[in-house]
């Protein structure tokens, strides 16, 4: 494993009396990490804490070097404007000039195979196309870390495969990938390393092949058995 790009120490998030994230300590060093776990395990919450959308009630995140981040959500959030303008919006917030924005946005849409739909109203695109616009918007920012929360959960199989291909392309362009998914096949294809969590705690952190062939914990074995078709 390469040197960690994020060290998480005793991270906790408590809401009322519920411990949603319960003392998570973790070193993330793989380029492509997939977080797995049953429903309500705290996967999405962990991603949001790492991305800074939520503030932990305990513990800390230590970044050896600051990484620029972008996040893609389960349900793509599209502004009521064109697909192109949605990509431009993210770039504009990062302070690019108008000409740069337009050029980078077009380039990014082309990379997700949507250059032909650039001028279409984003909200009228299909779910899969909207998610690709969201990926283009994130990719255009050239993030060093891309976080994806169940990016294919509401998509049909064909769209899922397309999104998966784009995630692999983004990884190939050098970004670190940290994502959650319910699709075990997808996890296996994308991940180098699996982080398995349950009830807000880290259960195991295992290289992908080992996780799927010889899970190290009983909880993970049970999870694989229940989730596998």
């Amino acid at each position: 494993m390469s040197a960690a790009w994020l060290a998480i120490d005793g991270l906790g998030l408590t809401e009322g009396s519920t411990r949603i994230i319960d003392g998570v300590s973790l070193q993330l060093g793989a380029q492509r990490t997939v977080v797995l776990g049953p429903n309500g395990a705290g996967k999405s919450t962990l991603l949001r804490l790492i991305h800074g959308l939520l503030h932990p009630t305990g513990g800390s995140l230590r970044w050896p070097q600051t990484l620029s981040q972008a996040m893609v959500f389960q349900r793509p959030v599209m502004l009521r404007t064109t697909a192109l303008a949605n990509v431009i919006y993210g770039l504009k917030l990062k302070g690019h000039t108008a000409t740069e924005c337009e050029q980078l946005a077009r380039q990014s849409l082309a990379r997700v195979g949507l250059e032909g739909l650039a001028k279409r109203p984003a909200r009228l695109l299909s779910g899969g196309e909207q998610q690709r616009v969201a990926l283009a918007r994130a990719w255009a920012l050239e993030p060093q870390l891309l976080i994806l929360d169940e990016p294919t959960a509401s998509l049909d199989p064909a769209s899922s495969r397309e999104v998966e291909r784009i995630i692999n392309d983004i990884a190939a362009s050098g970004a670190r990938i940290l994502m959650t998914t319910h699709n075990l096949g997808q996890a296996r294809r994308i991940a180098e390393e699996i982080v398995f969590i349950d009830r807000g705690r880290i259960v195991e952190q295992t290289p992908v092949e080992l996780f799927f062939t010889q899970p190290q914990t009983e909880a993970a074995q049970r999870f694989l058995k229940e989730e596998s078709p």
Partner: protein
């Protein structure tokens, strides 16, 4: 029956003949209420957006206040603006009382809370959907408020039209600060009130028809616009 029908016939003749006195009253009504609605939108929409998106002490109190102010009684607003603008009042030096400007001010005060409260509702709904994405992209709260105002433009136009509907149909405030002066500050609602009490039913009725037509048109436009927006932008 003849007697009952007569005012309707005369009223229709006034409308159809584009009676100049009638036209003057209608145009003044539209001018005053459009100006008031414009001011209410310029002031009320940013307030509504900041109430939806912002985080500052007193936010909840302000939300309750603006929601409550939606039901402001027009006569009370009229009275307060009257006191402000009257000779002895703090703004008396400008000599605005009994002018169309005074009527615009009164209606703007009346409509701003409506626009602000409706805007807050629209933007709050959008904010719950967009919040994480906008924060992820690094938008500040004020930037997010501006983005959502633009994104919600079609729903917000309905808020503006609701404000306009309230302004154009309101009688108490403009009656008090305008004074209902013939040819100067006489609008549709105040004329209807006056002519009815004088017994000149045709003019009152003609204005009533036009007022209803204006209000119905507003709603039809709002409905059509939302449908169009839904089809074109989702």
């Amino acid at each position: 029956m003849q007697e009952f029908n007569e005012p309707f016939v005369t009223a229709w003749q006034l409308v159809a003949g584009a009676d100049s006195r009638l036209a003057g009253i209608v145009l003044l009504s539209l001018r005053v209420s459009l100006a008031a609605t414009f001011i209410a939108c310029v002031v009320g929409m940013p307030i509504g957006a900041l109430l939806a998106v912002g985080r500052f002490p007193g936010r909840r109190t302000l939300i309750v206040l603006f929601n409550g102010l939606m039901g402001l009684p027009p006569v009370v607003v009229g009275l307060l603006i009257y006191l402000l603008l009257s000779r002895a009042g703090p703004l008396g030096q400008f000599g605005l009382l009994f002018s169309p400007t005074a009527m615009v001010i009164a209606q703007a005060v009346l409509v701003t809370p409506i626009v602000a409260a409706l805007t807050r509702q629209v933007i709050a709904d959008e904010w719950s959907e967009y919040r994480e994405q906008l924060r992820s992209l690094g938008a500040s709260r004020s930037r997010a408020a501006a983005t959502l105002l633009w994104d919600g433009r079609f729903s917000l136009s309905t808020s503006a039209l609701a404000g306009f509907g309230r302004a154009i149909a309101e009688v108490g405030a403009v009656m008090i600060v305008g004074g209902n002066i013939d040819g100067v500050t006489r609008v549709m609602t105040t004329t209807i009130a006056l002519e009815t009490s004088k017994g000149d039913l045709p003019l009152a009725l003609a204005l009533g028809f036009i007022l209803i037509a204006v209000v119905l048109t507003i709603n039809a436009v709002a409905y059509a616009m939302r449908g169009w927006a839904e089809r074109h932008w989702g």
